[in-house]
Amino acid sequence: MFRFAPYIWKTLWRHRTRSLLTVSGASVAIFVLCFIGSIQEGLNRMVQGEDAQRRLIVFQENRFCPTSSRLPEDYSRQIAQVSGVTDVLPIQVWTNNCRASLDVVVVHGVPAAKLPESRELRLIEGQWPAFVSRTDAAVVGRQFALRRRVRLGDQLTFGSMSVHVAGIFESDSSAEEDLIYCHLLFLQLAESQTAAGLVTQLEVALDPSAEPDRVAKQIDEKLRSGLVPTTTRPKGAFQTATISDLVDLIGYAYWLGLACVGLVLSLVATTTVMSVQDRVQEHAVLQTLGVRPGRVMRLILAESTLLCFWGGALGVGLAWTILTWGNFSVGAEGVAITLRPSSAMIASGLGISVILGSLAGIIPAYQATRTNLVSSLRQS
């Protein structure tokens, strides 16, 4: 097969404009496919992590946007009494945008001293004591810092508040890396002088034997008698419910992805059909010289697969570059899905383009070997 590589290459090169257009068309579609795929991956990462299953979020009943949920901070003491609960972290959430957005800023105000132990964050710049001791201090996730070019010691201003960057952290969870943590009281007071003692949500850590759904039910029942009724869900379920509109949208994006696949398929198939129809006589000559029909078929499949693979490689490369440098996150209501390039994305992008390329070549390849040699030779 490799002996015929120059022939394949020269054939594609002869119609370089056509080849180039096909490659670029395929690359755009594969790029979109990768982008959609990485949103899907980000969503999966968010809802399928260990944290997502083993931690509960207590939120005000029937509220969705973090700005509208208000729970007494001292609910945490009552929740801590429920069996199976090992820790409760009150969180005040601030976000720049309650609607879906490609650049969400989400600030979590938490009891500063508790943060290092309740989250698996590794500071890559700065020190924990510096964060704990300064009331207007904040630690910033790596992704966010990259996206907004935040550096240690910077002063960040959101709305009416301004925080001092005392650390930049990384985490195994990409969603975490998109967050900013600051002192709970600082955030409460920044929002309103009367907000002290009120939080957006409470995050509950469970002991390994506890059953998340049962504990959630118990918490809601226990707090039913309190001032504000609550809804408690595993963190993953909470996040999916919070951004359910976005999740629906991502579901539709799947169809868009399928459309991309169809687009690549028809584009490459069209090019290959044209190329084969141009060369009916040439393929008959090859067969007259003794090239087996099966080999002619493989030559044509190689052409379509190469075109598609190059398009795919270009699209994947483009997606990889843009996702790496863009540090995008799509989010709504204080929950963000981070978009990251992954090896799975690269592998599936390339894999899909190879498969599409060979599929696109099947019909023209088959046609080329089914024609009558004598009459094909007469054509010119």
């Binding site: 020269k10 002869r14 090859l286 007259t288 010289l289 003794g290």
Partner: protein, 235 residues
Amino acid sequence: MPLVEIRNLTKRFRKGDEIITPVLDLDLDIEKGDLLALMGKSGTGKSTLLNLIAGIDQPDAGSIAVAGTTITGLSRGKLADWRAAHLGYIFQTHNLVPVLTAYENIELPLLLLPMSNSDRRKRVNFALEVVGLSDRAQHYPRQLSGGQEQRVGIARAIVTHPTLVVADEPTGNLDEETSRQIQTLLQELNRQLGITLIIVTHDVDVASIAKRQLRLEHGRAIGPSQSPSAAFSGL
């Protein structure tokens, strides 16, 4: 034993209700080293017979054996392998692959045979030399004249040292002068390299180089007719 043995060969074409039988119950032997000219009026089935011998068409009845191999009834793939190893085909229009150089076009059939790179190079260079185009090896078909293209086509047909070379009106598209050069070349191939050649032609000059001339009429081969004038009167 003759190199090519054709027995009771019949080929029919259906055109609507009409049935055309350009080859009917034909028997023909061709000896090794022969140079045979197939002549006859247009539409008498010369190309049809040649394509059957070349194994790119299948008869409705009868058999063709070349060097002991019965090629009628072989599968498409087997026939392709047989052509690669045993047949050289010279087309009327050269039919070179436009994206490949003269050298690469000639090399093409060798890629199908088990052969070392250096042997392949030697064979191609020798074939180029035979047709007198060593200095045009790296030219593309569009950079060659019609006669040069036909020479490349001939080199491609002989490069594998085939058992049999067939040519369908090899000079049909060439002017008189070039046609004469090609005739000389074909005659040399037959005389000096001992290549067995079957040439379909209308041209009495081309036929004159043949050791044997046959005329096709009503599906049968008539001959041998030795004199060019006899062939001429049949046109």
